[in-house]
Symmetry: C2
Subunit: 301 residues, 2 copies
């Protein structure tokens, strides 16, 4: 019997990764398109899948791991629709409007929930019940997966905007979040680093001080994730996390922030096995999207 | 047919509330005993239920909502056992050891998870999918209930110890948490208020400044709970929350901390229906314990 085909979308702020995969996970077609307004971007996405279907056969389910804010409640009439995003043109756009022509189930979750699912199933989170995946890049966000399903309340989480403690003596930068100023994302996202020091962390001539400052903000999120979710592991991906030495600094700062309060076998001394880089590297998102699509094959939406 | 009887325990740091209730929730016997070491306290608890059983009939299930840290994983061999608590004698004590003689299912959760369940079912959280209940008293803790079940990772949550932003100019108090100094509990718990100002908030001659300071710390937890759980409502109980005006100050500060970033019908302007005092007052915990016991009647542990 031929394996059924899955259409997978990792929708990011700068690019869409599109893939067609077999149920086994084997990718048989893949492309990247630039993120623009949805009237340009979404038809190009649909065209890719139309061509792939002509070449390889019908697509049996779609998995979408997308930037947000987006409605990820399968019971909602607006499931798969972007909500209040300031991204021009995207508010109100809906994946179902353009993928509906294929007549296949469409499973939509956030980009970080998708990456969390990918890491949980096939990356650094294998064997965990509860895994928190955080991206630190243009934005900051966290997805928490428990036994293969992402957690959510009335909406997906927005960890980038948590309050953090900033020491104005060591870090006088007031933050750049238009909503909160010096929330986590306002202080530790890639653009906040660029604005403050005129360069990415990796390219700074004297990165030691800035690296400690950024690591402590990320560590404050790590501590809050532990205390408010008690995940079995924390994975940190995204562009900023590629800075050499940053993951070690986050481990050190997170251990200091936790102060030995949480005693559990999961939190090894030094957090070398607790605070991890993604096992799938930049493939976590599209891997998660394929897994979401696979869930669609089983009848879930 | 006679209703079956539920034994309910709300185990707090200073007192145990013990109740025997019918399935309908009607309480037919209730007492309070002082929390001492478990060798004194737990046999007294068992004796109460023994007498109640003699008077009213056999107890068909127990529900326990307890201080922690305690193992609340029903699949664990140590389910219902206190773990690393610094409370003298309590580490290693287990509810099952003293309630086992009744031969009835024993359902154990934390005190705040129990209160969250009580508020979700019969208090200020009615109609919510996801409810976060926080106590601000001798300690600070949060339970999150989703569709009637408390959320947990490898252990129950410990929201009292999240990092918060302290402005040393307005609040030079370094905090009193033995692990973290100025974490939330180190700054905003009842004992931290007493140590800093020599009085509870309610009894201060000029409470306005202190009230603003404490409200902002609680509001930082409120913001983090929203961003990391997206609950349909936040309930704040415990002794400190009885301070006149505090809940309004928390609403104001939480709205400022969120900065309009999260737009949802749940978060009404002013947060009058989002940030709430407990609907059950001090009865949330024992109500939750009865509901946990009721779950035991259904065969859950």
């Amino acid at each position: 019997m031929t394996e059924r085909l899955i259409g997978a979308v990792e929708a990011g702020g700068t690019k869409f990764v599109l893939a067609v995969a077999r149920e086994s996970g084997e990718v048989i077609a893949e492309t990247r398109i630039a993120t623009r307004t949805p009237d340009k971007c979404l038809p190009e996405m649909a065209a890719f899948f139309r061509h792939a279907a002509q070449a390889h056969g019908p697509i049996a389910a779609f998995g979408v791991a997308s930037f947000g804010p987006i409605d990820i409640d399968p019971a909602s009439a607006d499931y798969g629709r972007f909500t209040t995003t300031p991204k021009p043109g995207w508010a109100g756009a809906r994946f179902h409007d353009v993928l509906g022509e294929f007549g296949a189930p469409i499973v939509v979750d956030t980009d970080v929930n998708g990456a969390a699912l990918g890491e949980w199933a096939m990356g650094a989170g294998q064997g965990c019940h509860t895994l928190a995946y955080t991206t630190v890049g243009t934005g900051i966000g966290t997805g928490v997966v428990q036994d293969g399903h992402s957690l959510a309340g009335f909406s997906h989480f927005e960890s980038g905007h948590i309050p953090v403690a900033r020491d104005p003596v060591h870090d006088p930068f007031p933050g750049r979040c238009p909503f909160h100023g010096d929330c986590l994302e306002g202080l530790a996202s890639g653009p906040a680093i660029e604005e403050r020091w005129g360069s990415s962390l990796s390219k700074l001539a004297s990165p030691a001080g800035p690296l400690e400052i950024i690591a402590d903000y990320i560590a404050q999120l790590a501590a809050s994730l532990v205390l408010l979710h008690m995940p079995d592991r924390l994975v940190f991906g995204g562009g900023v996390m590629k800075t050499p030495g940053l993951i070690d600094a986050v481990r050190r700062k997170a251990e200091a922030r936790l102060g030995g309060y949480v005693q559990a076998p999961q939190l090894d001394p030094g957090l070398q096995r607790y605070v991890m880089l993604p096992g799938l590297g930049d493939e976590a998102g599209i891997t998660g999207a394929i897994l979401l699509g696979k869930r669609g094959l089983g009848g879930d939406h």
